[in-house]
Structures are given as structure tokens and as C-alpha cells.
Symmetry: C2
Subunit: 421 residues, 2 copies
């Protein structure tokens, strides 16, 4: 790419912010100022329609694959050599958790559009195609596993089985995909990216706490999701001596406090986000407690150690309390190493822009970890206020959002083949 | 009462068992073989209709009060003196918890009918009226507080306010009472019993464990019900370091394990029967945990001590975890002492029948504790297999049920004024 071209690539920060805000109003909750766009709901369809409209405004080649992933491609110069036919992909997701913030996922997709817009407005064609991707069901709150669209795209799960996934509301994923009109024709994985870059808010407190502007994400921690069911004996709360109880609720509580101890090593994270008691009556000892366990660690050996400690604890607990305990693995992803070449460019671009930066680990799961299976990938983080995410209070300033998008543009420019050489 | 009459009073055990079984089939659950007759539901109305039909078969004077308590009275001999106009009352309840056993409450009411039936079949009129009572909403699962009908009857709560109680399903108690046709004319408390006797399954393991046939219940433990709400911060499960979490679910779990320690003194009982997380999503740290606490102790000072320890723990927990904690008292009943005269007769009747017995404390709340406010009262317990209650597995053998009813009949005979003296 020629220098004068580089100089004429200008990122429209105002437009990026206005699109983040407009998408953020889609599926707005009446309370708390949040929004909910669970995958393949009517509200998420409205978000998809908005994205597709914006892709059309940029005259991108739009494709939707059979799992509903949306791709908008800016074609390359006709002079692009064979290898350059594979696109540089910029992606993330636009589905949300319940009562979510406005930036998680959406920022990365709309920053991709902003990068493409810079080329369009400069009248420049890139030396390889640039594809902006929005992957289906990254959050996994309605259909599990999460990061589903990118997982299928990377060949990590069979399409047919995933389409048969039954959601928390009893719906079949494939039927909902048809219903909202996003069951596309393209085979997942048909476009193998040359490389993949995902820009995202940190969703954690580290950058803000250390006063650092940019995170060059070089790896991503492993994730283990389980659903645990404890079955005890329902009995009268007033007449059953403590020593004779088989209290599923107490057993569940002791698992939660044990997991807090496991997480005290400083690298492992343990979260019990979902809990249900049966019969759930004030004066009846719980017969059943069903809950989820989310374990994460950047190191596979430590993650496996945490899983084993939990397993051993559950076995001892079942014996001690006289309850039955069963566990089902819902999700299991090993830690991911990102591409050092892209990470090096992120650092170089940050330095040349005079931004403070640090190499870091992603605590959250991201589509980048799936695409990393089929292409070199890396991520760029910008700070999240108080580390809050999955919450309406999720906040990153406009200045930080625009700064991150400009960095993404610079990284993209430098990762495109230079025809001058 | 004349001796030859005593000899001719025969309790029909077969009929008692058949009525327990028939009432037990009302509101039968399709699963687990239990039954659910939450107060003032259509299923509980069917139970009431059945009871009223059986009272009519015994030609009792039937009255229903404004809170829906049902009374069936066998008149006394016309020669009964003034004081003898006040009835000996035998009562309990016919509402149930969710997926309940067949004996809790129903046994006491139907044993009362069996006692009256013995008089009818012998053609004997008692020397004071005998009233069989079924009190409204003893279980308190749909409308709180529990033991509501007897509480109002004893003047412990204002009728108007109780009729405005909103149920867990959003219904107004007074409206449901009208709907099922059991909003009666009689003022609660209009019939002051001369004394009150309640026969009940133990709902606990003590009698069976000690191989004892009859419990002479001389007191009843105090009950404290609270609903506790913990509010933390919803946040991303993968990116929030443990030390920076404000996890409402973890805080709730640590309350449960703390209460197990409180209950280790051997007299205090602590139960967390109901629990709810928000947003209740696998990868989001719970923003809110709301749960109930059921504390019981036969000693008021120890019950207050347990409440205070919980209060102190919650204050320290809020500080330590950076969460807000609020607590609402739902129910608070002090321990109750029953009438030693009636207890002495229960023991004497057990001895003369050659039955093993023990004085004991009731762990459960019963209507007897409310009626004890306006009349001498006591209870008789029969064994519960494995102490299981509030569960379809609740079981007492027919032999034990009939034995208890015969003991009740003998106690009633001896508590009636003897015109011979």
C-alpha cells in the first residue's frame, strides 16, 4: 500500500460512537438502562438487521452462513496476488447477556465497520479483502455452548448437532434461526481468513487499575463449565435434627464456599452464577439443588487441578452429607495462545501512536479463541471502567473507544501486503 | 359419664383409615405419589367439601368462620351445666405443603371425627359439646404467616389485614376464600373451647428412634422466619479477580454454612428452604441472592441468641464482601408451654392402655400453639417413619394411627365432666 494512501485513511470516530449507541438501544430493557439481545430472539434479529443495513451502506459483499454468522467483505484491489485473496477478518458478536452493557462484542464489530469505512471514504481498495464478521450466540445464555457461531465456523462442532440445540426456553436453535431469517446458505468455514483481529473492551479491571491504554492480548484462559445436581431428602424444617439432615441446599452452599478457597490461588477463577432449590419452600429442607460452576485459568494444568479438587470435594461431600451428586460438563475450552506476529504489530502500533500498553491474558472467552484454530489471531483490549461488564454499568469512554479503533486501523494497515515492496 | 357408656364407646379404626386415604387422594400429584392442597386452591376446596360431607354424615352442627376455619360440633346432653356449654375441641388442618404426605394435619381432624363417630354409634351424648376443627392455612406456603386460621381465631392477628394478604401467586386471600365458598359468617373466636387437644404425627424421628409409641407433647419450640436479600454487583465471571468481587451468591452461601454452625448446639434448628439468584446466568457473578431463614428453638433466650448471631454475622459479611444485606421478619412465634393437666391425662391414658410414652417438645408449629392462647391445650404425637414429613414418603402405620386415635378417645372421655360425681 502506498504511503500517501496510508495518510488519507481517516477513522470516523463520531460515526462509530453513534452506531454503538444506536445498536445499544436495540432490545433496551425497561429497567436498569440495560439491553437484552439473547441469540436469535426478535430483539437480536433487530440488531442483525441494523448491522446488515450498515454493511449495505458501505457496499460490502454480505454473506450469512448456515449457523447465522454474518460477514461483510470489502473487496481487494484486482491486482491482489493469489495468497492475498484470503481476507483479513475483523470480528466479534452482537448478541448480549441479560440486562447487558452496550460495548461487549458490538464494539469490535462496529470498529471493523469503521476501519472499512475509512478505506471507502478514502477511495482506497485494500491489498487483500477485509471482512467484518459478527458471530452467532457468543454469550451462550439461551443456547449452550457459548461462542457457538465461531466454534462451528472453525470446525469445532458439527453443524447438524448444533442446529438441534434446545434452548433454555425449549426452542430449537435451527428453528429460531429460520424464524428470524438468518439461516444462510454459506457453509461455515467457507471463508478461511488470512488472519483475524478482535477489538474488545477488557471487561476486567486491570488496564484501568494500572492506568494503561491498550492491552495486547497474547493468550486467553481456559474455561470449564459444569452443571452440578445435588439430591438430598426433603424433610420438615422444624423436626429434623441437624445431624439427621440430607440438605441439598446446605451441600450446594458448601461447594460455593469451597470454590472460593480454590480461587484464592490468584489465577483460578470460580463462579456459581445460577442456582435452583427444590421444592424451594421456606419450611422444607431442600430435596434438590442444581447449580452451574464456571472455572477458568490461563494454565491448563492449573485448570485441570481445580476441576480435580472440585471432583474430590464433591465425592467427600456426598459421603459426609448423605446426598447424591451428579455433574455434567457443559463447556470445556483449553487456554489459547494467540499469534505473536499480530501481537507484536499491536505493540508496535501502540508505540508509534504514543499509547501505553501491556501484554495480557484474556479472562473472558471470545470468538478469537475459536478462529485461532483456523487462522493466526490476536485481540486488542481497551479499558473497562471498574472492570464492570455483563451489566448496564459497563463503561468505556468515547475517547478510549475511538483510540482503540484507530489502533485497530493502524494494525490492519500494517498487516496488509505492501505492494511497494 | 356413666361407666357402661364408656365401655360402649368403640373407635372405628377402619373408617378412620379409609377417610385418611380418601382425603389423601384429593389433590394427588401426578408424580412422586404425593398430594398438594395449598390453602384455598381448588384442590383444597375439594378437601374441605369432603370434610363437610363427613361432618354432615355425623349430623354435626357445622359452622365456618370469616377466615374459613371449619367447625363440626356434637351437642352435649341437655343436662350439661353452664360451664359445660363450652366444647372440648379436637382440631388440626387439612391444607398441605407442595407434594406432601397424607397424614400431616388430616390425621388430627379425621381422628376427631372418629371420636365423635364413637359417641354417635354408641348413641351417647357427651357431657359437654365436642367440636372438631379444621383450621385454615396451617402450612403457610401460599399465604404467610402459617398457622393463620388458628392465629386469627385466637385473636393473634386482625381479620381485615389477614384477608388482604397477597399470596405467592399474587392472589388476595379474602378473594380466594370467597371464590371457593368458604368465607363464613361466624366471627373467629366465637366458640371459646373449654380445652383443645390436637393429635398429630410427630413429623420427626425421635419416637421411632427410641421405640416409643406415644408422645405427650408438653411444649412447642419458638419459630423465627426471615427473608434475607443480599445485593452485590453483577460482573463478568471470567475477568473479575476474586478479591474485587461483590458476589451475592457467595455471600448467601456463607450465611448457609454459618447457620449450620449455629445449629450445631443441638437445640437450635436452622433451615434455608428457599433460594433465588439474579440474574441467574452461568457466566455472570450474581447481583442478588434472596433466601429464607427458618430458625427454631424450644427456649426463647436461645432463639433470640441465634437471631442475634445471624444479625451480627450479616453485618460483618456486608462489610467484608462489600454487599448490601436487608432482612425482613416474616414470622415470629415464641415457644409455647402446653397444659400440664391435659398432658398428665395423656400419660395416664397411655399407661392404662399399656403403651410406651415420653414427654416431648414439638419441633413443628401447630394450630395447638395458637389455641393455647385462649384455652388449655396439649398435643399427642404418634411415630413418623424415619421422621420424614412434608414429603410423599411420610408414613405412620395403620396400627399406630388407630392406636393414637384410641388414646385420643380415652383422653376425651376422661376430660369430659363426670356427672356421677
Amino acid at each position: 500500500m502506498q504511503l500517501q494512501h496510508n495518510h488519507s485513511l481517516i477513522l470516523d470516530g463520531k460515526r462509530l460512537i453513534s452506531q454503538i449507541n444506536e445498536l445499544g438501544e436495540t432490545g433496551a430493557d425497561t429497567i436498569n438502562g440495560g439491553r437484552t439481545r439473547a441469540a436469535l430472539t426478535d430483539d437480536e434479529k433487530r440488531g442483525r438487521d441494523l448491522l446488515v443495513k450498515w454493511m449495505k451502506e458501505l457496499d460490502l459483499d454480505i454473506q450469512v452462513d448456515k449457523i447465522g454468522n454474518i460477514f461483510g467483505t470489502l473487496p481487494a484491489t484486482s491486482s491482489a496476488p493469489g495468497d492475498a485473496s484470503r481476507p483479513l477478518m475483523i470480528g466479534s458478536h452482537i448478541d448480549t447477556v441479560v440486562n447487558a452493557g452496550a460495548f461487549d462484542g458490538c464494539y469490535g464489530v462496529l470498529a471493523g465497520l469503521a476501519v472499512v469505512r475509512a478505506f471507502r471514504q478514502a477511495g482506497i481498495q485494500p491489498t487483500r479483502p477485509i471482512t467484518v464478521a459478527a458471530f452467532t450466540n457468543e454469550e451462550g445464555i439461551r443456547y449452550q455452548p457459548d461462542m457457538m457461531g465461531s466454534l462451528v465456523y472453525a470446525g469445532g462442532a458439527p453443524l447438524a448437532a448444533i442446529l438441534d440445540t434446545i434452548g433454555t426456553d425449549g426452542t430449537r436453535l435451527g428453528d429460531e434461526l429460520e424464524r428470524i431469517g438468518y439461516a444462510g446458505e454459506m457453509e461455515p468455514g467457507a471463508i478461511i481468513p488470512h488472519e483475524y483481529i478482535e477489538l474488545h473492551i477488557e471487561q476486567g479491571p486491570i488496564l484501568e487499575a494500572e492506568g494503561i491504554q491498550i492491552g495486547a492480548v497474547e493468550n486467553l484462559q481456559g474455561i470449564s463449565w459444569q452443571e452440578i445436581t445435588i439430591t438430598g431428602t426433603a424433610n420438615h424444617a422444624g423436626t429434623t435434627p441437624t445431624r439427621l439432615r440430607h440438605d441439598a441446599g446446605y451441600a450446594a452452599a458448601s461447594v460455593i464456599t469451597f470454590l472460593r478457597d480454590i480461587a484464592s490461588n490468584g489465577t483460578t477463577l470460580a463462579t456459581i452464577g445460577s442456582m435452583r432449590f427444590e421444592p424451594n419452600v421456606i419450611n422444607v429442607i431442600p430435596r434438590l439443588a442444581r447449580f452451574t460452576v464456571d472455572l477458568r485459568d490461563p494454565d491448563e494444568a492449573r485448570l485441570q487441578a481445580a476441576e480435580q479438587k472440585l471432583k474430590d470435594f464433591l465425592a467427600a461431600l456426598a459421603e459426609k452429607e448423605g446426598v447424591q451428586i451428579s455433574s455434567e460438563q457443559l463447556v470445556r475450552f483449553q487456554p489459547v495462545m494467540f499469534d505473536q506476529g499480530i501481537v507484536a504489530q499491536i505493540i508496535q502500533s501502540a508505540e508509534s501512536a504514543g499509547l501505553s500498553y501491556r501484554r495480557m491474558t484474556s479472562g473472558a472467552g471470545h470468538d478469537a479463541q475459536m478462529i485461532a484454530r483456523i487462522a493466526p489471531a490476536a485481540m486488542i483490549f481497551v479499558p473497562s471502567k471498574d472492570g464492570i461488564s455483563h451489566n448496564p454499568a459497563e463503561f468505556t469512554s468515547e475517547e478510549e473507544l475511538i483510540r482503540g479503533a484507530n489502533l485497530l486501523l493502524d494494525v490492519v494497515k500494517h498487516r496488509l501486503p505492501d505492494h511497494q515492496n
